[in-house]
């Protein structure tokens, strides 16, 4: 079996990217719940719409990395954009006082870091086995 990056054998689970995806998905669900809940002080606001879009984009970008862009410059650009998305969404969540969303962004950041570390480890391993 050959992996997309040319290494042989079964790919170890990229737990980071999946943690990121789950956090983004849960974040999206939290925002939808906040939008449906009229008694939270942020229902129907521009700020909530903003984090709805940013979380949706985060989920899409994460899934693109998970399934298609595991390496190369598309991966690099998406990783940077996801990082900015996490920071921006977390800041917005803080100002919206949506602390569950803020916690999920912290989880998303851990996932993002985990994905990067795993990717770096894998690249080092590939370099070591290469002639």
């Amino acid at each position: 079996m050959t992996n997309p990056d040319g290494t042989a054998g079964r790919t170890p689970l990229d737990w980071g990217i999946w943690l990121l995806a789950i956090a983004a998905l849960l974040g999206l669900l939290v925002i939808i719940f906040e939008e449906l809940n009229r008694a939270n002080g942020i229902h129907g606001t521009e700020g909530l719409l903003l984090v709805l879009v940013s979380s949706a984009l985060m989920l899409i970008a994460t899934l693109v990395i998970a399934f298609w862009a595991r390496a190369g410059w598309p991966h690099g650009i998406l990783a940077v954009l996801i990082f900015l998305d996490i920071i921006g969404t977390a800041a917005a969540a803080y100002l919206l006082e949506s602390y569950l969303l803020l916690a999920l962004m912290a989880v998303a950041f851990i996932g993002w870091l985990g994905h990067l570390v795993r990717g770096r480890t894998r690249r080092v391993a590939v370099a070591e086995v290469a002639p």
Partner: protein
């Protein structure tokens, strides 16, 4: 200041105590703590003796019940009622919670469940002759000294309306008291006979004292120069028959001015038989060139003899007011401990954030008040006062100087704030309105608004919320005013901040100093809560209060929020307050100002909270109505909190 002298005071002191007449607070169950006036008590202390909810357990406070009255309007329907502005303090008395609505209805509720006992619908047309919104700030309650069981109207709830009527309703049954006025309705516009440019409105519940119903009114002192002169009516609580009438403006000046009315609540010294009026500014608000004769009762706190309406003393807080610095809340009465002696005192808060502490029998200041030189008007015909009174103790709730341009607001607006500031006249407090525009800080929006402050009489700790708002005051020549406002109706002009002041040589533009993005151009905090020791006049603490919310984002707590409404204090050491822009109600620690509990409600809760104890349980009730000065949110939510 006008003092009628020692003889008058002696006469007042010799009067029989109020308990010989009707009173307001004794027919609830034993052990119940009532909240029987807009301010809780006639002395306006807003103090609850309930002590079940404490700083230690307030964090567990939970919603006990909630009611939506259905009486709300956002004003969006051009054929429907105007936007509502509900600031009604509920009353708890007669084992019932009473609350009025902006649609001029009364709800009588079970105090522990919120279940409706009865409702009364005045069926008045929902008109707004003066305010631009439908407003209601609550009810009044009276009962006979010894109510006769089974006889109607021994206990009466009074509903004031925007069209100047007072409805008297049996407090037990919700039926009209037909012996009052005309079939249970008194129309105060029957006495609106001088300069009656518009009908009088009543937003504020009348004050009940003994067998008197004392009624002030609201108008619109920004539209015309000559308006109905400020009057207060005392009528019999059972018949509505006029007892006496007070006028704040000398009759010979009626052709030149008007208003200086009492549009907010009053307080009563039951022991000394005195009524205290917060008297507003004369018309027109921002130009006084046609009303230069002395009017010592305008923009004042004035003490009246309760039986006759005769002035006992008056203290003018602004001379020749051209800033719309209405005295806008009931003075809080208390007994000051000073040098081992008890001094009968009152504290009057103002829109400028000043706190005047006066002897309530004489009107003499207890702490120093300086008569400070202030900037002179450069408007032709205007004769601004060369000095104004400024209390040095207690220190004002607002800073003495404009707090500077907000760098953030200035950068975001590409320098709009600093450019605008450079073109304004600003020479500190009392900078007069000018043709080029003057910066007013604090401005008419407050300082301290109509909720006033609260006082713990056991320690004479006074708690008050205050806003820090900068506004631009610009006079426009009549030609310029007409040019700018061509084709607009009066409502559109008012909404745009253009006040006609018809009959004066100038129109006026009032503008809050915001950048084009809607951010305040000045540095915060925009709202605070302060605590004072009134025995010494010293500030205990001052903290930013509330939060500003924009696009859903809450700004830092250190910015605070502009507030409308006021606090109440409980014996256990808590302050309950809504008032902020962020639609939250809070409990603060009296000792520190720290927020110990907060809860989200549907709109800014500008009504004073009502605190009562019923069947051994303490409740805190907020009427959540919103206020267009704070946010365009409205609601009809009445929510009660209690410990689980």
């Amino acid at each position: 200041m006008k003092t009628l002298g020692i003889l008058t005071i002696a006469g007042v002191l010799s009067l029989a105590p109020a308990t010989a007449f009707a009173q307001q607070a004794t027919t609830s169950s034993e052990g119940a703590q009532n909240w029987y006036t807009f301010n809780g008590q006639l002395n306006a202390q807003k103090y609850a003796t309930s002590d079940q909810i404490t700083p230690d357990n307030v964090g567990k406070l939970a919603k006990a019940w909630e009611l939506h009255t259905g009486d709300v309007s956002d004003g969006s329907n051009p054929n429907g009622p105007k936007a509502s502005d509900w600031g009604a303090t509920p009353l708890f008395v007669n084992d019932t919670l009473y609350v009025s609505t902006v649609f001029d209805r009364i709800f009588a509720l079970e105090p522990d469940t919120g279940k409706v006992k009865w409702t009364f619908d005045s069926k008045v047309k929902l008109v707004d002759p003066t305010q631009g919104e439908l407003k209601n700030r609550g009810l009044s309650y009276w009962q006979a000294a010894t109510p006769v069981a089974g006889e109607a109207c021994q206990k009466i709830v009074y509903l004031p309306t925007m069209d100047g009527k007072v409805f008297a309703v049996d407090a037990d049954k919700g039926q009209p008291c037909t012996g009052f006025g005309q079939n249970g309705v008194l129309d105060i516009n029957q006495w609106n006979t001088v300069n009656n440019k518009w009908p009088l409105s009543i937003l504020q519940p009348p004050t009940v004292y003994k067998n008197e119903l004392i009624i002030g009114w609201s108008g619109q002192d920004w539209t015309q120069a000559v308006q109905p002169p400020g009057s207060v009516f005392s009528v019999d609580t059972q018949t509505g028959k006029l007892n006496w009438k007070f006028n704040s403006i000398p009759p010979d000046l009626d052709p030149k001015t008007g208003t200086a009315n009492v549009w907010s609540s009053m307080s009563v010294d039951e022991k000394n038989n005195l009524i205290f009026l917060p008297v507003s500014s004369p018309s027109p608000d921002y130009y006084g060139g046609d009303r230069t004769a002395p009017m010592p009762l305008t923009t004042s706190v004035t003490a009246l003899h309760a039986d006759t309406g005769q002035v006992v003393w008056s203290y003018q807080t602004v001379h020749h007011d051209i800033w719309d610095y209405d005295v806008n809340s009931a003075p809080v009465l208390f007994d000051m401990q000073q040098n081992g002696q008890t001094v009968p005192a009152l504290i009057q808060s103002t829109k400028q954030g000043f706190l005047f502490v006066l002897n309530r029998l004489t009107g003499k200041s207890i702490f120093p008040i300086d008569e400070k030189p202030v900037p002179k008007s450069d408007i032709q015909g205007e004769q601004s006062s060369p000095t104004q009174p400024e209390p040095t103790t207690p220190q004002a709730t607002t800073p003495d100087q404009f707090p500077g341009i907000s760098i953030l607001a200035d950068i975001i607006s590409g320098g709009y704030c600093s450019r605008t500031m450079a073109g304004l006249r600003y020479e500190g407090r009392y900078t007069p309105p000018s043709l080029k525009g003057s910066l007013a800080f604090p401005a008419t929006a407050g300082g301290i608004e109509w909720g006033g402050g609260a006082l713990d009489p056991t320690s004479n700790t006074y708690i008050v919320n205050s806003s820090q708002v900068a506004q631009i005051y610009q006079l426009l020549s009549r030609d310029d005013y007409d040019k700018v406002n061509a084709g607009k109706n009066i409502e559109k002009k008012n909404a745009d901040g253009y006040f006609a002041m018809l009959g004066a040589p100038y129109g006026f533009k009032l503008q809050t100093f915001l950048n084009p993005e809607g951010m305040p151009c000045w540095n915060g905090p925009y709202g605070t809560v302060s605590s004072y020791d009134l025995n010494t006049g010293k500030l205990n603490w001052q903290v930013p209060f509330g939060e500003v919310q924009k696009w859903g984002f809450y700004m830092p707590e250190s910015w605070g929020s502009v507030t409308i409404g006021g606090p109440v204090i409980t014996k256990s050491g808590l302050v309950f307050i809504g008032a902020s822009m962020d639609s939250r109600v809070r409990a603060l620690d009296v000792k520190t100002g720290k927020v110990l509990w907060k809860s989200l409600v549907e709109a800014p809760a500008v009504a004073l909270p009502c605190v009562y104890t019923y069947k051994g349980k303490e409740y805190v009730v907020f009427a959540v109505g919103g206020n267009s000065i704070l946010e365009p949110k409205v609601s009809d939510q009445l929510v009660a909190y209690a410990l689980p």
